[in-house]
Symmetry: C2
Subunit: 308 residues, 2 copies
């Protein structure tokens, strides 16, 4: 089962944001990221019979480790396809949790082909990273806990990539608190490719190139299941620049004393920025998700980004 | 008042230690370190009248920020003397909490002289960092909380410098649980200067040169008040090498997702080491103190130590 993660607060963060900020620390989730919730729910839903064939997924990030870990806990084989270029820390997690790792070329075609081959050979069930009902429901448990832990939350700010966590939280939170504001936080990237903001502006699922950003966990695109939920239940999208993401990380490391990966700091970056103050200045109690903490401390580039 | 800090656990840490490890996260204490507890207790004990003259201390580390913060909360002026060479992050904390900072040469004589001058001019009360009853009692509240939070703790492993935290925890914990083992964790340093281990072996307070270690918060020496408490109530001292401290930090950052300063990781380094397994292999539930999280992320040397 997933851990009930703690909610952290910090006087320094409150001052930076100009309001009370409650941080749901999914960095302390099993495997160091929220992804375990959706993976566990998806594999558990297969039942004992479905689990016998094993599961398979492809991922360059936290979903890979989450599926390996959830499968191990449920006594089921996990095949993980990952691009050769995936962060070492995330590949190591797969192996640590007993996942069978297959490396492939870093293209979506190669990943899907390798995945299909394993499915054909073993009958393993595919565990999608976000565009899947059981995944969305699993991530939604973040909101159930958060609203129980923090009375009177007026908004939740959620980093968005494929939209699994965002849509799960939006549905669960609004079911419990219809007046709560759900705000997506999205990197605009070096190539101005904030797809959720662009889709919301267009009112339809538009094709946008992959975001080039240090927030390597937030490069996916909304899917046909997550998009309509986001469209109907998300109130606003705040886009953040690369330097704002580093600023959010600094607040986490220096003030809150927690390790987050760049993607994990995007919600905090949004809340302390000017756009948030302009558009949501009325809010007094805001929740954010520190959604992942898996960084490769051995990568020179990571530390150098601090000094930029 | 001090925060009740959470207790963190990690499957990876338990596996590394070969037993269950409970981590009292004083990194989340006000000001990012346990020092606030003793500083607040010392200043509160002066009473309203004593506080009117203000307080003064000298420190190159977390005690400086703790005194400034506690004084601010109690509405009292804090004069802080610090060596010019103190870490920037710790000097910034003093200023952020409204402390009046006086920089001096990096010698104990210069620090004491500057402190005495302020006492003479203002009548401010000196707030000692460790060798003082009210400080020891304040740090002892860590043990009160810890034993309430974790049933059945068999030992607490405490990083030691001047011995304020160690003696406070030893007295409080043994009053509540006479059978609990209190174990000091101490850097041996590049100059083989583990003073607590040497004093314990000699059975008296011996003079040992200042430890040269990356654990910059653990360079002080036992005092005439802390030494007899340590001698009578501490069961063992585990010394750790510099590379073990970096290993402890790695576990904190990579596995537990928390930011600790080198001194803060010394207890964890001790628990996962061979000496601990040899001498305390019978223990199943061990508590450690992650005592501080104030690191200067802008210092090139800090990150380079990871790559060593």
């Amino acid at each position: 089962m997933a851990r009930v993660t703690p909610v952290l607060t910090s006087g320094s963060v409150d001052r930076a944001a100009g309001r009370q900020v409650f941080c749901k620390a999914e960095i302390f989730q099993r495997g160091g990221a929220f992804k375990f919730r959706g993976a566990y729910n998806s594999i558990a839903a297969l039942g004992a019979e479905g689990q016998q064939q094993g599961v398979v997924t492809h991922s360059s990030g936290n979903h890979a480790g989450a599926v390996a870990m959830a499968a191990q806990l449920l006594g089921c084989t996990a095949h993980i396809v990952a691009p050769r270029t995936a962060p070492r820390v995330k590949l190591d997690a797969v192996k640590a949790f007993g996942g069978k790792l297959t490396l492939c070329d870093p293209t979506m075609e190669a990943r899907e082909a390798a995945c299909q081959k394993i499915q054909d050979e073993t009958g393993a069930h595919f565990v999608p990273p976000y565009n899947y009902g059981e995944t969305i429901c699993g991530q939604g448990t973040i909101a159930l806990e958060f609203l129980e832990q923090c009375a009177g939350l007026q908004a939740i700010v959620v980093p968005v990539s494929g939209g699994g966590m965002l849509s799960g939280i939006a549905v669960a939170a609004k079911a419990l608190e219809p007046g709560i504001r759900i705000i997506a936080a999205e990197p605009v990237g070096l190539n101005d490719a904030a797809d959720v903001a662009l889709c919301m502006a267009a009112g339809e699922l538009v094709e946008v190139p992959r975001t080039r950003t240090i927030a390597d966990g937030l490069q996916a695109r909304l899917g046909d299941l997550t998009w309509p939920i986001v469209r109907d239940h998300v109130d606003d999208v705040i886009t953040v620049e690369e330097n704002e993401i580093v600023g959010g990380m600094r607040l986490c490391y220096e003030r809150m004393k927690v390790v987050v990966e760049p993607s994990g700091a995007v919600g905090l970056a949004a809340v302390v920025g000017e756009k948030f103050a302009e558009r949501h200045g009325d809010l007094e109690r805001v929740g954010i998700i520190l959604c992942g903490g898996n960084v490769d401390l051995n990568t020179r580039g990571f530390w150098e980004s601090w000094r930029a």
